[in-house]
Amino acid sequence: MDLSFLAIQALNGLSSASSLFITACGLTLVFGVTRIVNFAHGSLYMIGAYTAATLVPRLLELSFGPVTFWAGILASAIVVGLIGVLIEVLLLRRIYGAPELFQLLATFGVVLVVQDVTILIFGPEDILGPRAPGLRAPVEIFGRRFPSYELVLIAAGPVVLGLVWLLLRKTRFGVLVRAATQDREMIAALGVNQALLFTGTLFLGAFLAGLGGALQIPRVSAHAGMDLSIIAEAFVVTVVGGMGSVPGAFLAALVIGQLQAFGILIFPKSTLVVVFLLMAIVLAVRPYGFFGRPEVIGGAHAVGIASRERSPFATLAVIAVIGILAALPLIGDAYVLKVATEILIFALFAFSLQILIGVGGLVSFGHAAFFGLGAYGAALAVKWLAFPMETALPAGLLLAALGAALIGAFVVRLSGIYLAMMTLAAAQIVFAVAFQWVDVTGGDNGIVGVWPSTWASGPTTYYFFTLALTAAVIVLLMRIIDAPLGYALRAARDSTARAEAIGLYIRRHRWLAFTISGAAAGLAGGIYAFSRGSVDPTLLGIPTSVDALTMLLIGGIQTVTGPLVGAGVLHVLRDQIMPLTSLWRLVLGLSIIAIVLVFPRGIVGTIRNWREERT
């Protein structure tokens, strides 16, 4: 490892820092003004790459030359900017006042929609873009060849930073953007045309995402999956830099670029882990990132469960539901039982999340981590320790509880959107470990041969086994929600100052809640692993976390039983619709957006509301 190699690595780090900054800069600007964390920002990046990879070659056929190439890149970015405007006008404008959770979910709905629409328009194949005219030959640096296009990228970051700086400092629009980032209410009070300001900001943000994506085409082919990988990194950059801060994003991108370039040398397979660990450490030391300010947080946006009069039939209803479920094997065939088993598992998974979100107001966006840890814990115990199911399940639960205790210790210091981002990052770390530590976890293929003990292996018996465990744990969790701990969590959610003034140690309560919730999710994961006979990294992925959140959303965040209903509805819908269409993600994405916009109480919440209005 000589000096020239290190220099090249440093240059590589700079060029990825540049790309990352250009994209993350858009995200942080949009957040600063609108206070929305735009999950779809990665999708805009992907659209930019696809558009450029399709558009630029056509333009180059007309007239070959550098000018055409760069004009094509710029045109692609402008197209993406206009798509950003469309998203603002159609969706974001309607949810500026909504709780953070709804904003995150709605923009994730856009992610799902874009995934399917991208494939519809551009086809399922990866698209390899053209190389930049005039920049094809590598240059020699310290006796090593280095792609000249990368040098252009290295310059692009500071150029964009400079231009954005000029825009923010020297134009009226820029002054308004900075003012809105500091105090949105004041801007409104001063009579600024907010609609125009927000739309303009979204154009700028989406333009930068598109530019970031378009600039990638000579380096990597445009492919599905770009969106989620870039959004995770862009989140890290904006959070580490301080949300809303452009210089912070630049600094964070530089640090992360170098960390990735040299992290490869130290931990060849763990670049993802290193990046997310950086975020964990920075947030632990500076909860608002390098240049973030506490005021930037959205504020008291928590909605959740409230006290209601106890229905005298509540206990009866619980017993009746369990009775009906226990009678299901009498009428259902093996397929129905398999679906019912999965629904029960996901009901437990969603319910464990409700303790954090509905009760504690803690928007955990990485709950898949605990589900996956439980599944992997059980699978690893079977594979490496030859544990039978009876001991593997508790092992999985224990691993998930430990993981939740560890992650919880970091995140309970945070609140609002920072907490959501941190839990997401934590889940991505776990995902990266499962994905990259191939020797132990089997990597992408996961672990197979995770079968239940003989006595429980029939579909009927396993169904009863699942029903008994999930029902017991859900009843236990319901008690906890009603017990002082659940009330203390709600107290901290309603008013931090008051909770502290009556002697509640909020962080300790929240940490306990994380651990309990993680353990329950881990049990669900373990049961799931044995029901399928295998585990793989998708169990830990962002889509799994979003599944749980969607179940909460469908059922109703403000209700205790909502997540259970939501799990059933989502699962049945998926089961019915998925075979009919290849556009399941489009359907799901549009459904999520529709629920957020027109049906935010969810099924149980709406029914309850309707009944209360009648009486």
């Binding site: 409230a306 006290s307 017990a483 002082p484 701990l485 107290a491 008051r498 003034a501 009556i502 002697g503």
Partner: protein, 258 residues
């Protein structure tokens, strides 16, 4: 022993000194008001006593015990109850549950996992609500109350910890004139009966001169004067501090202070 002894408290924010060398004492059963023009440092001093802010210099002693560095939670357990300028209650709970939660907190049961919170200390909670005249609303959602009632519930919550010292930051802000006098009369009678020392900040001079036994005037972070309401009212320096707003210190017409 003196209930509360505040010694040489100082606090700066950047270049702004919000409190300089502030010292005062408060006895059991006494009502002590801190007044001063906007930006005088009332809230800073108040939050240093309440534990929301850490002073740069100086000490806060409660019953002789140094609590300068204690957390709000610790202070609560040592007998400090407080209400906030904008009332802080748990809006998702019923009125009784709010008080029950404070009782649960004071008995360190907030991590219990099994028997329901709403059945714990229900009678004690209703008794406390009785004291502030809110027992009839015990089962109403806190979010459905009028603001004046929320303030009363907050008082009941603060009393749930059996405080020796009650801190009230602008207790009557946002209330109607009639409600203000009622709330302060209520506070005074409870404090007198239980021997609770009350420290409060206030903008409303009717409330200050009607209910405080002693008044501290804070101007630009310093104590300008301390004394009985009548002396403060006559103090030429205080009058100068309220320059342009001299009427603020005049005896209210029509309402006679108790």
């Amino acid at each position: 022993m003196t209930l509360l002894s505040v010694q040489h408290l100082s606090k700066s924010f950047g270049g702004v000194t919000a409190a300089r060398d502030v010292s005062f004492t408060l006895e059991r059963g006494e009502m002590l008001a801190i007044i001063g023009p906007n930006g005088a440092g009332k809230s800073t001093v108040f939050n240093m006593v309440g534990g929301q802010l850490r002073p740069d210099r100086g000490a806060v002693l409660l019953d002789g015990q140094n609590i300068t560095a204690a957390s709000p939670q610790k202070r609560f357990r040592l007998g400090v109850g407080r209400t906030f300028q904008v009332a802080q209650t748990f809006l998702s709970m019923s009125v009784a549950e709010n008080v029950q939660m404070a009782l649960i907190g004071s008995r360190r049961e907030s991590e219990a996992l099994w028997s329901p919170a709403r059945t714990r200390y229900r009678d004690d909670a209703v008794a406390l609500l009785e004291q502030v005249g809110m027992a009839g609303m015990a089962d109403h959602p806190c979010s459905a109350l009028a603001y004046g009632d929320v303030k009363r519930v907050e008082l009941a919550i603060a009393l749930a910890g059996q405080p020796k010292l009650l801190l009230m930051d602008e207790p009557t802000a946002g209330m109607a004139a009639r409600e203000r006098a009622d709330l302060m009369d209520l506070t005074a009678s409870i404090a007198g009966a239980k021997g609770i020392g009350v420290l409060f900040t206030e903008h409303d001079m009717d409330v200050v001169f009607g209910h405080a036994e002693r008044v501290i005037v804070l101007v630009r972070g310093r104590i300008l004067a301390t004394g009985a309401p009548e002396d403060i009212r006559q103090d030429p320096e205080v009058r100068r501090a309220y320059l342009g707003d001299e009427h603020a210190l005049e005896r209210p017409k029509g309402l006679s202070p108790t």
